[in-house]
């Protein structure tokens, strides 16, 4: 790793952040030239000024009686409610599945079946059962996060080093102590990897949930505005949802680095 870095540094003196800055600046300039220069119609790609006025519209007047902050807040609530409950439940079940073959045999058919299933396939059922609204959406997001976290936690438990467990046992640790002090911490890096995967899938599913089973939230704003050809609103919505996703991932990474700072370094 250090050697590879040394080689790249030899070729280019610019620090990474500067290169990133240039790359983003080039895109913005291309955008300004294309739109303000009149090469692209506002319908396909709004110019910076119409994007800004679209954003101010959404902040001041809102979209269909709610400001963009309210829509964003609702989306965030759903993501967090679905992700947190799904990831915690999935991790608990996954740990048990990894630790005990009876639990694994009981749950694995459902988890394995649920994981590759496209969420939209069962969203219809959830709407039939729970109606259009928050419940159906949050349950959908819960079911999205659950199998991803469960499988990550199970794999984490199964990949625990046998020697580490043997050492702990011969030092006098009980089954519960081995789980608490050895197996669970060993599985933590994989649990975090699973959480990041899960939040990605949950985020992608959110849009579908809001479009089909709701009438609020950023995903719904994007789709609804698209139907009225308000591409300025669509772009604002996409930017907002993208930035929100980026910050959620950064937060998870920050927590991960703090808790499993030792991962991959021994």
């Amino acid at each position: 790793m250090t050697e590879a870095r040394a080689i790249t540094q030899g070729r280019s003196r610019l620090p990474e952040w500067a290169i990133t800055g240039v790359s983003v600046a080039v895109l913005i300039v291309a955008w300004v030239v294309a739109t303000d220069g009149g090469f692209v119609d506002d319908l396909f790609m709004p110019s910076p000024s119409s994007l800004w006025s679209g954003f101010m519209d959404l902040v001041v007047d809102g979209y269909k009686s709610r400001t963009i902050w309210e829509h964003a807040g609702l989306s965030l609530e759903r993501v967090l409610a679905g992700f947190v409950t799904g990831a915690i439940a999935g991790t608990v079940i996954g740990l048990a599945m990894g630790y005990n073959r009876v639990v694994e045999a009981c749950f694995s058919p459902f988890v394995e079946f649920l994981r590759p299933l496209p969420q939209l396939a069962y969203l219809v059922l959830l709407i039939v059962w729970f109606g259009i609204g928050e419940t159906a959406q949050i349950i959908l997001l819960f079911l999205t996060a659950f199998p991803v976290s469960a499988i990550a936690a199970m794999d984490g438990v199964k990949s625990v080093s046998r020697q580490r467990v043997q050492v702990a046992r011969s030092l006098g640790a009980s089954d519960w102590q081995i789980f608490r002090f050895v197996v669970f911490p060993s599985a933590l890096p994989e649990i975090f990897t699973g959480a990041r995967l899960a939040i990605g899938v949950v985020y992608a599913t959110l849009i579908a949930a809001e479009i089909i089973a709701g009438s609020t939230g950023l995903g719904w704003v994007i789709l609804d505005a698209g139907r009225f050809l308000r591409s300025d609103y669509v772009f604002v919505g996409i930017l907002a949802i993208g930035l929100m996703g980026l910050s959620l991932d950064y937060m998870l990474v920050a927590i991960e680095h703090r808790i499993v700072h030792w991962a991959g370094r021994y």
Binding site: R164, Q166, S170, L171, G172, S174, F181, P185
Partner: protein
Amino acid sequence: MNKPFVEFSNLTIEYPSRDGPVVALAGVDLAFSAGDFVCIVGPSGCGKTTLMQTLAGFLAPTRGRVALAGKPITGPGPDRGVVFQQPALFPWMTVSENAGFGPMVRGLRRERREKVEYYLKLVGLWDFRNRYPYQLSGGMQQRLAIVRALVNDPKVLLMDEPFGALDALTREKMQEELHSVWRRTSMTVVFITHSVEEAVYLGTDVVVMSPRPGRILERLCVDFSRRTGERDDIRSIKASPEFVATREHVLGLIWASAD
């Protein structure tokens, strides 16, 4: 020999495999007293590790029995500490938390503090007590793995090629450290190694094993380790005709059995 402290009698271990059972150990009889430093050498796959795993309680005998102080072994326990070739530390714990793991899980708070401090100071890790294992060198990690076993006050210390992954210089230093700890305590050590020199130098007893199915070819009583004091002695002991002759004898046994 007085009453044996560790006793393997007619120990046979078979593993199931697709082509029928594989015999790892075939009727091993071996006994030694408390305080012995037993080194087990033999070619790869001779069952040295299997022998250790049975004494540790990780493996149950297919036939025969293993007893410690007259009691048959039924599972792992804190009277037997283990050290593997890989340190197998707990990377989420600091150096002192790793060292104190045994007393921690057994609820021995005072022992924990005192023993951890004593042993970490003894091996020069006290200044690193708040670091994490990944911040230590390979030699320091293995020292910590040994300290973790010693802090628990085992009656027997089981070591499976503990210095196999270390460079030659670190390895010699660690041999010395282990030896001085062993001389200070009444601990029994079972030490598995590939290195005949290490075995002959460290052991009070050298057990030579045959390739699979593992049997005991010969058992030698040696006393080179009891003669040491200064570092200069070590070099001259390892160069002495007597030491060389013993080493060559053991090597010869292993070569002959491999043919």
